[in-house]
């Protein structure tokens, strides 16, 4: 029986549950393969073109003006400023060129010093420099997950809502062991009280079919425990009979019951059943321990731990995540062992990039807080290691690399201001940037810019060119804004990521109103 026949046999619906696949595999073996092949490899052969999606999120708000929406300005923190305090502009204290913060160029891409360590990736990267993040941490983070639409964060998420990862996994994840692995914790920063965001509100892990639900990756130790527990409980014989007994108990219990608690239980039971049915082919004891990989990703013991450092006074509720280099290593292994296809990688420290500074501090420091080391450690260094690995690892016998089948999104929930009131001259800021990488991305390209005078994103046309109504350098509006020009936002990113993964806007689940940035696609 081929996949198509199988689809027809189980109702002809596209939305086939993990259980259906597992049941089919158990009964009939994997189509076209030896039964002994193992689910991990087999899955890759039955789902058609493989697809992988990685979001790399720098939580807290990066300094976009010094990153991928660069702008050359003076740095009034160096002294001698003539402007009034509220008009002063502060940049990180690096050497100026002709009195201005240096905007560098590599290939077709202009960048600030925060992107300096990433230039080797530029040929594979499409940069969108006309972009608006949010200014409210929790809200903006949620929008990068859910897309943009009229959403009350504290409201119950509806059955038609999806995070970008859930929407992706709903389309491609049904045959995988743990399709959706995320390292984040939406309420971790304590900006909102978890007591007021009960199950089913805010970021909701259980949207879409069970196989698309969020599994929090946590640390290598926890992941190994998870896989070991699954392995210990899966298989034939005794365990299978006990599972059957429990499945019957649960089925009877769930009959005619609904509500948040039972919905969660039902989802957990379904996901658990899928896990214990298919996870035995992974050997947890060897996962994330390979010495070569650990060296490549520069993994130290401390990187594998979670942190709970309070940042900006916010509660030390941890993200329960290891450092990003470990997340990247885990991503590579889970991806190439056929276990998972979607990964939300996020900086480990709560509000790690939320670098508020007072005017006094910045003047004393002769510049804004410099996020260079942070962004290198949290993103560029491990990202380069991951990309190198993905490029050098062939997917099955396709002649193509994992990178060719992968889409990577680099983002942060907001940018940061270059000035402001005395108490805070590094505020939450809309102007930001986003970048895409992967096999479907038109690499070595940059779209949009920030005006040197407006200091805001210059709207782009649907083809990615700047709206001619704006001065391409200063960003000043010279005439009438084009009706079709726009500034990309979290909704655009959501739609673009899925579009790059082969899910056209019309087929994207969820309520996101954003449209794909077609110009970043090959």
């Amino acid at each position: 029986m081929k996949r198509r026949e199988f689809l027809a046999a189980v109702s002809g619906s596209y939305a086939i549950g993990m259980l259906d696949w597992m049941r089919y595999f158990r009964q009939n073996g994997v189509p076209g393969t030896a039964r002994s092949l193992g689910l991990a490899e087999a899955a890759a052969q039955v789902v058609g073109q493989p697809r992988f999606l990685i979001y790399w999120f720098n939580e807290g708000g990066w300094d976009g003006y010094s990153m991928l929406n660069p702008v050359a300005t003076r740095n009034d923190a160096l002294g001698g400023a003539t402007a009034a305090p509220l008009d002063q502009i502060y940049r990180p204290n690096i050497a100026l060129v002709n009195g201005l913060y240096p905007v560098s160029t590599s290939g077709n891409i202009k960048y600030g010093h925060l992107a300096g360590s990433g230039t080797s990736l530029f040929p594979d990267m499409a940069v969108v420099s006309s972009h608006h993040g949010g200014t409210f941490h929790s809200g903006s983070r949620l929008q990068y997950h859910m897309g943009k639409y009229d959403m009350t964060f504290s409201a119950k998420r509806g059955p038609d809502e999806r995070s970008v990862m859930q929407a992706f996994c709903e389309a491609y994840g049904s045959a995988y062991f743990m399709p959706h692995i995320s390292w984040h914790n939406w309420l971790a920063d304590g900006e909102l009280s978890s007591a007021d965001y009960p199950e089913g509100t805010g970021y909701y892990e259980k949207l879409g079919p069970a196989y698309a639900n969020t599994i929090y990756g946590s640390t290598p130790t926890v992941m190994r425990q998870r896989i070991a527990s699954v392995a210990a409980a899966s298989g034939a014989g005794r365990d299978k009979e006990i599972h059957k007994f429990v499945e019957n108990l649960n089925t009877n219990f769930l009959k005619d019951k609904h509500g948040t608690t039972t919905q969660a239980f039902a989802a957990a039971v379904q996901a658990h059943a899928a896990l214990v049915s298919g996870g035995a082919t992974l050997n947890p004891s060897t996962m994330f321990t390979d010495a070569t990989l650990r060296t490549e990703f520069n993994v130290k013991t401390a990187d594998e731990q979670t942190t709970s450092t309070a940042v900006n006074g916010n509660p030390a509720r941890s993200k329960n995540s290891p450092n990003t280099n470990v997340q990247a290593l885990m991503t590579y292994e889970l991806m190439t062992k056929g276990a998972s296809i979607a990964f939300w990688i996020e900086s480990r420290d709560v509000r790690g990039f939320d670098s508020h500074r007072s005017r006094a501090n910045v003047l004393s420091n002769k510049g804004q807080y410099d996020q260079k080391n942070q962004i290198d450690v949290n993103m560029w260094t491990p990202l380069k290691a991951l990309v190198a690995r993905l490029k050098s690892t062939q997917y099955a016998a396709t002649g193509k690399s994992y990178f060719d089948y992968t889409t990577i999104v680099l983002a942060s929930e907001m940018g940061r201001s270059m000035g402001g009131g005395d108490d805070d001259v590094c505020q939450h800021w809309n102007p930001s940037s986003v970048a895409f990488m992967g096999g479907a991305v038109k690499g070595g390209t940059q779209f949009g810019a920030v005006g040197t005078t407006s200091l805001d994103a210059i709207p782009t046309m649907p083809d990615g060119t700047l709206d001619p109504a704006y001065d391409a350098t200063t960003g000043a509006l010279k005439g009438t804004k084009s009706a079709s020009s726009f500034v990309s936002d979290a909704g655009s990113v959501y739609a673009t990521a899925l579009d790059l993964c082969g899910i056209s806007k019309a087929n994207q689940k969820g309520k996101n109103l954003g449209t794909p940035l077609a110009f970043v696609k090959k």
Binding site: A232, R238, L249, T306, G313, D456
Partner: protein, 534 residues
């Protein structure tokens, strides 16, 4: 003026971490102040009964409209009935206590305590070292970890003839397989099995015997199945719906013991509490040390403690109020603190009557100006006011200035009409929780509300001006009830819908019992329809 200049002018507005309203129609509509002393609830009849003349007892409340029970909630609820199945899933601590009690084995996995500690992440517990929040519902991780717990605990019990196998011989069960299956149900699920359940259990063991190393392993398999039984995993065993008599009462006692004391009822409690009323049972558990410890744990999670003495100070006050029956208003108006031995202790006069609001363990995690975290979290945590910045609010804020956030009729004043003056009133408390009277320039700090909002309901200097008025508000009462609801029911009260009658009962109890939280818990346990499966 460039957009940059415009944006720079925001100063206060942009850095807010909590800004404008989500559009809640009853948001921030408090009236004027009615004095600076904490409310003294009038001694009206218990639970809103009747007067000596036989007429309805007036509903107690303050003098201002926002200090009274909402009159619109006095009418009957006419919306659709709630049909959700409401039953909380066991937490990490409850599961651990259950396994510890039933298996009476300190050596599971080499050491039961350490064994559970290694699984805390998968089981969704909070150890305040690596994990700080608790899972609220079942997760796949919980279930896969439970597989291991079930396997490891049952294998030892069957082999060693301990716990549920104590007094039994799996290799040759006295009375046959039916008797041992019945025993396992009684010991693990605290009830007799139904006939079909016995049949299914024996069938499982019969199936397992030929594919298990020995009979003990086969019986351990049934034990595993029962540890993964919904009756084991929900705080109210779902079987309460089908059992009767003593078994039903035992199921209900399981619920009360787990919810209140985080453990199963002991054999002695099952005997001594048989036939007692719900209130009597609740009273018993509230008096146990496990209740105090479990409440303290929940309060630590709720107040975001990292289990240091300082960060746990708010949780100690919450717990002190609960176990001593001190007025619930003290959470915001206490002029004292509580030490690690649960003694009331004095604190500096600079705190005034401010309860948790000036505790370093509360302040340190909520930055003040230019952020509005502190004010937003005070209003959210203790007054039930949520703040969310919707796209519409964001769009409106782009041209806002600090001054305009409190201008009457402005978009932002909906939230900042409270947030801004409340932040001013906290100015003498630095973000590190220290008290100061002068700022960095040496100037005296003005911690009044500065009169920036004419109808600000909490006018005056310092946090005491806020707290002593806030505790009179209906929102404070409601939010305090909601906190207890979340602790014990894992959800919020549907106060404006089908649970408005319960809300009134809680309101009346709070006034008639001088804000004694123990009385609130009793009303919840006895008054929430379906809580005990009735």
């Amino acid at each position: 003026m460039s957009p940059h200049r415009n944006l720079l002018g925001l100063v206060l507005g942009v850095a807010v971490a909590a800004a404008c309203s989500s559009g809640n129609p009853d948001a921030l509509n408090a009236g004027g102040t009615s004095g600076a002393t904490p409310p003294t609830p009038p001694g009206t009849g218990d639970d809103g009964g009747t007067t000596a003349e036989g007429g309805p007892t007036p509903i107690p409340g303050g003098t201002l409209a926002d200090e009274q029970f909402p009159p619109e909630l006095l009418g009957p609820y006419t919306g659709p009935p709630n049909t959700d199945y409401e039953n909380t899933f066991v937490s990490y601590l409850q599961l651990k206590a259950r396994v510890t009690q039933l298996f009476a084995d300190t050596g599971i996995g080499g050491g039961t305590e350490a064994y559970f500690a290694t699984k805390i992440a998968l089981l969704g517990g909070a150890d305040f070292k690596t994990t700080f929040s608790e899972a609220r519902v079942a997760s796949p991780d919980f279930l896969v970890a439970l597989d291991g717990v079930a396997k490891d605990s049952c294998a030892r019990a069957a082999t060693n003839k301990t716990g549920p196998f104590a007094g039994s011989d799996p290799a040759n069960p006295a009375g046959g397989d039916t008797a041992l299956a019945t025993t396992l149900y009684q010991k693990l699920l605290l009830r007799a099995p139904l006939a079909q359940e016995v049949t299914d259990a024996v069938a499982l063991v019969t199936t397992l015997k030929p594919i298990s190393p020995d009979a003990a392993s086969a019986w351990a398999g049934l034990c595993e199945g029962l540890v993964r039984h919904p009756d084991f995993l929900f705080t109210l065993p779902p079987s309460v719906a089908v059992v009767t008599g003593a078994d039903k009462e035992r199921m209900q006692l399981v619920k009360l013991a787990l919810d209140l004391s985080g453990r199963l009822p002991s054999d002695a409690e099952i005997t001594s509490l048989a036939g007692k009323s719900v209130v009597e049972k609740v009273t018993h558990y509230i008096g146990t040390p496990e209740f105090r410890d479990f409440y303290y744990h929940r309060a630590q999670v709720r107040t975001e403690s990292v289990r240091t003495p300082e960060s746990s100070e708010p949780a100690r006050l919450w717990t002190y109020l609960m176990i001593n029956g001190a007025p619930m208003q003290d959470v915001l108006t206490a002029d004292y603190s509580v030490d690690a031995q649960w003694n009331k202790i004095t604190r500096g006069p600079e705190h005034g009557k401010s309860g948790v609001l000036t505790m370093p363990g509360f302040i340190k995690t909520k930055p003040g100006l230019p952020h509005y975290n502190y004010a937003a979290r005070v209003m959210t945590d203790y007054m039930g006011q949520l703040f969310e910045i919707t796209p519409a609010i964001l769009a409106g804020r782009i041209s806002a200035t600090a001054g305009s956030t409190v201008e009457p009729g402005s978009l932002c004043v909906t939230c900042h009409g409270i947030l801004t003056p409340l932040e001013f009133q906290r100015l003498k408390w630095a973000d590190d929780g220290t008290y100061r009277t002068t700022d960095l320039t040496g100037a005296t700090i003005d911690d009044s509300d500065k009169g920036v909002v004419p109808d600000y309901p909490f006018k005056g200097a310092g946090m005491e001006a806020f707290s002593t008025v806030a505790v009179r508000k209906e929102k404070f009462f409601r939010q305090t009830f909601q906190a207890q609801f979340l602790f014990f029911l894992g959800r919020q009260m549907r106060y404006s819908e089908d649970e408005r009658v319960l809300y009134l009962a809680l309101w009346n109890a709070a006034w008639s019992k001088q804000g004694d939280l123990r009385e609130i818990v009793k009303v919840i346990a006895a008054g929430v329809p379906g809580y005990l499966g009735n």
